[in-house]
């Protein structure tokens, strides 16, 4: 069964999620990944949104994290202060999905500027919730196409913390969150090693690891136990296409 790069990434992202995870979820691919996991191996997964929505049951594909379809039929809606203070900072969030224009060797993210901050070449949207999600969620995931410009050795600006300059430097600051758990790309998976450096731990069927190394801005190490991911199952793809019948998110490059 054929699938797009977005479908491949979404299926592999969904497989990262565990039952009973409480996921701080964005729209688009992360939302689809959560719904896929919820309908397959994680029936007790709880989706919460920085807009203050908890336990959403949208009757349509939400087009933003503030979509009204997330509210109708949700278990709870609280203020943004509460979702960030009483849920995220307090420690109720197990998983965060991160976006961002740049992800570096240690999983630090830049969503702020390309170039100098005071005189940016490119002004990006900024942190939104990501600065605190990266610090306080137990595990963080990234879903993005594997392109060199997205994976520099070091970000121009650190909008949110991965392992900073190495796992020990994050640990020393004592944030409650565990930091980046995996980067899901259209070529495979990158995961932090004991030093917090992102290394290639899996490739998708038919992908040459060298292709991933060529599209990464630092000398990408291959994990000793490099594996090949299971191709998306027909059942997974069927559910995904039910969730996004128009292919709003699944029929493009993703990210």
């Amino acid at each position: 069964m054929d699938y797009t790069a977005s479908e491949l990434m979404t299926v592999n992202a969904a497989r990262q999620l565990r039952d009973h995870d409480v996921v701080f979820v964005g729209v688009g691919i992360p939302n689809l990944a959560c719904n896929l996991a919820h309908r397959t191996h994680a029936p007790e997964l709880v989706m919460i949104y920085e807009s203050g929505v908890i336990g959403a049951q949208p009757e349509r594909l939400p087009l933003s994290i503030g979509d009204p379809s997330l509210v109708s039929g949700a278990l709870a809606v609280c203020s943004m202060f509460e979702i960030f203070a009483y849920y995220l900072q307090r420690g109720y969030v197990s998983v965060g999905f991160m976006g961002g224009a740049q992800i570096d060797q240690f999983g630090n993210v830049n969503a702020t500027v390309i170039g100098e901050y005071a005189h940016p070449k490119v002004r990006l949207p900024g942190s939104g919730g990501s600065m605190e999600i990266a610090a306080f969620a137990d595990r963080c995931y990234f879903i993005t196409p594997h392109q060199k410009r997205r994976f520099p050795a070091r970000c121009d600006f650190r909008t949110s913390a991965g392992f900073l300059d190495g796992r020990a430097t994050r640990t020393a600051l004592g944030m409650r969150g565990g930091g980046p758990a995996a980067v899901v790309t259209d070529l495979g998976l990158m995961q932090p090693d004991e030093n917090g450096e992102l290394t290639l731990t899996a490739v998708h069927p038919g992908i040459d690891p060298a292709q991933a190394q060529a599209n990464t801005g630092w000398p990408l190490k291959l994990a000793p136990a490099l594996v090949t991911t299971e191709p998306p199952a027909p059942s997974e793809l069927r559910i995904l296409r039910e969730l996004d019948p128009a292919g709003v998110y699944l029929n493009n490059a993703g990210g």
Partner: protein, 300 residues
């Protein structure tokens, strides 16, 4: 005591050149009608504060109302970038002050509580702290570690849109409640717009639903459809095609100017704007009702 006035009168009296304005609402209940009235009245040098500037501030910046932007995420929600704001910043034509969502809202919470500042736990992402001197550090007086602090934000005027309010400004607001309460209590003046003006008895039938009491409200304006192209939960849907259209037309200064001429300067108020949208758009935004289960307060 009735505080009912027209939106024109409320903006004329309570929004001044140079003011810090907080038009509240996270994606939901964004008071576009008030933003357009501020544009029509030609306000200048405003400091526009919003966690998510959204299209309302893209339009106000394009119209020349703003000197500075205070924000935490300057994107077109679910679509992409805010082109006008982005261009003005990249070209050095707009000052800005930047936070994360949490630190932005904590600034409002401190303002609402009448405190000089509030603390947060450190995030390890040092760059925003480095470029914004409003982030400070304090030692934890009870043990190890530090907290990060931000100063109170008390806007000169907050603008809040609600589903229903009485004439004194006691309002029922539901769906995504974002930062509305904190913005209202933080601000020195509050303009409340509402889809419906109801009797105090409706408000009194459910006092726990009152998000903001009239004590914190300066002026009340009856402005149906105030939030279009954003939405009002239970009243009308988000006009997503317009968000996509804005992404296209905001790439060129003259198409932006043409849009402002037609849809802001070219209409006297929100009623005319809503009529001008036409029957198809109005029909597309309708929503079927879905009612809450009532609760019993008891005749105690």
């Amino acid at each position: 005591m009735s505080k009912l006035v027209s939106l024109q009168a409320a903006v004329a009296e309570h929004v001044h050149d140079g003011d810090c304005v907080y038009a509240a609402g996270f994606t939901h209940l964004i008071p576009f009608a008030a933003g357009h009235e501020i544009i029509r009245q030609g306000r200048r040098d405003l400091v526009l504060a919003r966690a998510t500037p959204d299209l309302i501030y893209d339009q106000m910046v394009a119209a020349g109302c703003a000197r500075k932007l205070i924000f935490s995420y300057t994107g077109n929600p679910g679509v992409g970038s805010l082109r006008v704001v982005r261009q003005h910043i990249e070209q050095g034509k707009l000052e800005w002050e930047e936070y994360s969502h949490f630190s932005m809202i904590v600034r409002l919470a401190a303002g609402a509580a009448g405190l000089p500042f509030l603390p947060m736990n450190p995030t390890g992402a040092g760059d925003l702290e480095r470029v914004n001197p409003n982030f400070r550090r304090l030692p934890n007086p009870y043990g190890d570690g530090e907290v990060v602090t931000v100063p109170a934000l008390q806007p000169d005027v907050a603008i809040i849109h609600a589903q229903r309010a009485d004439a004194a400004g006691n309002c029922h607001l539901w769906g995504i409640i974002g930062e509305q309460k904190e913005a209202a209590f933080a601000a020195h003046r509050v303009i409340l717009t509402a889809e419906e003006i109801v009797s105090a008895e409706v408000i009194r039938s459910d006092p726990n639903r009152t998000l903001i009491s009239g004590l914190a409200v300066t002026a009340v304006c009856h402005v149906p459809y105030c939030a279009h192209p954003s939405y009002t939960q239970g009243y009308y849907d988000r006009d997503n095609p317009f968000y996509l259209e804005w992404d296209r037309l905001s790439s060129e200064a003259d198409t932006v100017k043409a849009w402002l001429d037609e849809w802001v300067y070219g209409v006297p108020d929100r009623d005319h704007y809503w009529q001008k949208l036409g029957p198809e758009t109005r029909a597309r935004l309708q929503v079927e009702p879905r009612w809450s289960e009532p609760v019993n307060y008891g005749k105690h």
